[in-house]
Assembly symmetry: C2
């Protein structure tokens, strides 16, 4: 067993994923210490609402989950507000950050400000772990290079298929393979909406249902129009092939075009419509698309319903390997970040 070390964790963005991660860190506390030599304390939390909050002695996790910011020592000394910084660099320094967990929302136009956050974290000497796909789509090469130069890790397992191991599978478990193509269902919201339409709802009703379930956002266009799926295709291409794709170069259709009756008839016929992501390497280029299309009953994609997702990889040595994740929750995304955290501090 390695020596036990305490890591200072900072959360940039503190919504459902960040909170689920704090709960997961708490519930895995003993296992992290005993099996991985990892202790942790939360020394920084930053959101638009509360600003750049930091306390290098640690904030109380139970307080954070109730939006109460108390130092770990607060219990003895009485409530004490942690320090406020003016910007991310000052904040990382005040928090003595070892690891940044970045969970701000996606900006599909230039990936900002998440890219700047990751850059600042790596430059400050912290590992950077993100659930934000924009950082990979717009700056993978740059951030990966910066991480190498700093001897830190830039990890992002939770950006595609929640926390299911996709990037780590290739990084760690599939050496010396040549990836030729991939194909999958990568957007939960549109897949859930299709399943609901098949069950008899109208598009509008299905969207409301997905919102009630906490899956679809208030403004779900990015999901319904295939943008989110396209961003994931671009993220996979950037990392697995080292080939960045421009989003508007990915041929793309959403799920709004078809009449619900057509979608239901296809399902009844056993050949359901799915929003299929695909990408194929052709020489030094990648041909990619996001398309609403019918799939055969024997196609593994046919059985991927609701919020489930999957991706099939075609490689030289392994002709077809598919990873399917069923019924993920917010905990699954949090798990991807936890796994990245363990990876980062174990290997550095």
């Amino acid at each position: 067993m390695s020596r036990i070390r305490t890591h200072n964790l900072c959360f940039l963005g503190f919504g459902n994923v960040g909170r689920a991660l704090v709960r997961l860190l708490e519930s895995k506390k003993r296992e992290l210490r005993e099996c991985y030599g990892i202790r942790w304390r939360i020394t920084g939390v930053a959101t638009r609402r509360i600003g750049w909050t930091a306390d290098a002695r640690g904030l109380r996790p139970d307080g954070l989950l109730k939006d109460v910011f108390i130092s770990s020592e607060g219990q003895q000394r009485g409530k004490r507000l942690p320090g406020k910084s003016r910007n991310i660099r000052e904040w990382l320094r005040a928090a003595r950050a070892d690891v940044l967990f970045e969970t701000t929302p996606l900006n599909r136009h230039d990936g900002q400000p998440a890219v700047a956050h990751i850059r600042a974290a790596l430059e400050s000497g912290a590992h950077a772990i993100t659930a934000n796909k924009g950082t990979i789509v717009f700056a993978y090469e740059e951030l990966a290079r910066l991480a190498r130069r700093k001897g830190k890790r830039f990890l992002f397992e939770s950006t595609v298929m929640d926390g299911a191991p996709i990037f780590s599978l290739f990084r760690e478990s599939l050496p010396a393979t040549e990836l030729r193509a991939f194909r999958g269902i990568l957007n939960s919201t549109s897949n859930l909406v299709l399943s609901q339409i098949e069950a008899g709802l109208s598009l509008e009703e299905a969207v409301i249902k997905a919102q009630e379930l906490g899956i679809a956002e208030a403004e779900p266009s990015d999901d319904l129009d295939g943008w989110d799926a396209a961003v994931k295709v671009a993220a996979l291409s950037a990392v697995l092939w080292g080939i960045p794709l421009k989003l508007d170069k990915i041929s793309r259709s959403g799920i709004r075009a078809l009449d619900p009756a057509v979608i239901r008839a296809a399902r009844a016929d056993g050949r359901p419509y799915k929003l299929v992501c695909s990408a194929r390497r052709v020489g030094k280029r990648v041909k990619a698309s996001v398309k609403l299309q019918q799939v055969d009953p024997s196609d593994p994609l046919a059985a991927v319903d609701g919020t489930s997702s999957c991706v099939e990889f075609r490689m030289d040595a392994l002709p077809s390997l598919t990873v399917t994740e069923r019924d993920p929750g917010i905990e699954t995304t949090a798990y991807g970040m936890l796994a990245d955290f363990i990876r980062a501090v174990r290997e550095s």
Copy 2:
């Protein structure tokens, strides 16, 4: 990039898998050298027919594939028969083995002589890589401990689902997860035979077809009666839970019991019969079975046909993660051993 090192490889058993591995090593030669700092030469081959053949200067791979055993220097010096040893220890020494690839057939009663082979290899200071499930089912704990003590690796990715990453997925990509249960289709022969029966063949015809395709063995009882599947369940339990299972404690049915008409009717009804492996952890024990049963159309197992296989893992943080491998070939099994080889020499 790490320094380039040459590794002496020994093959114990040299059938289809061993030969496919030699071809794969040849085709990946440049990538292994440039990306992983790995050079290799084959210094030992042993089979029942040819005995313990070794030459520490290396045997010519092209010759081996034609059953001609010539030293690497043979071209210049004329054909020269490599040395013969009397037993595995002498052979490993004569070959100066760094890595043993073990591909002898399964003995489902006590795992021998494969267990003894792996033990000898590790004791001699070589990494041991096997495609033989018996070694895990009967001696996982002992061999893993011996490997740790010797600072070598005992790896076995090709024992379950050909070369698809299952063990390495858990070892490397799923830290801090609690595996609660798994379920899958793990025997290609019986799955192919079921698919052929569904397509109209009788059991006997389906078996002959599977034999013609090179999938089923001359004596296919172990596959048809669920023994091979049970061995795989026991292998997964031993490694992923550290709990060895006695094969006769796994409740087991084969695929011969049902009338082909019943199998065809179930498929027509959309609820095909599958030989389903399952295991669930209950406290410190494991409840496991191999059962011919109908699966729902929405069940991912329903779409796993022919020689394809799959396994679904249920974990605390990831409620359901399924790995599916479609249309594997002998190259896939060879790939699993290649990946283990890279892992072993990279990490040691």
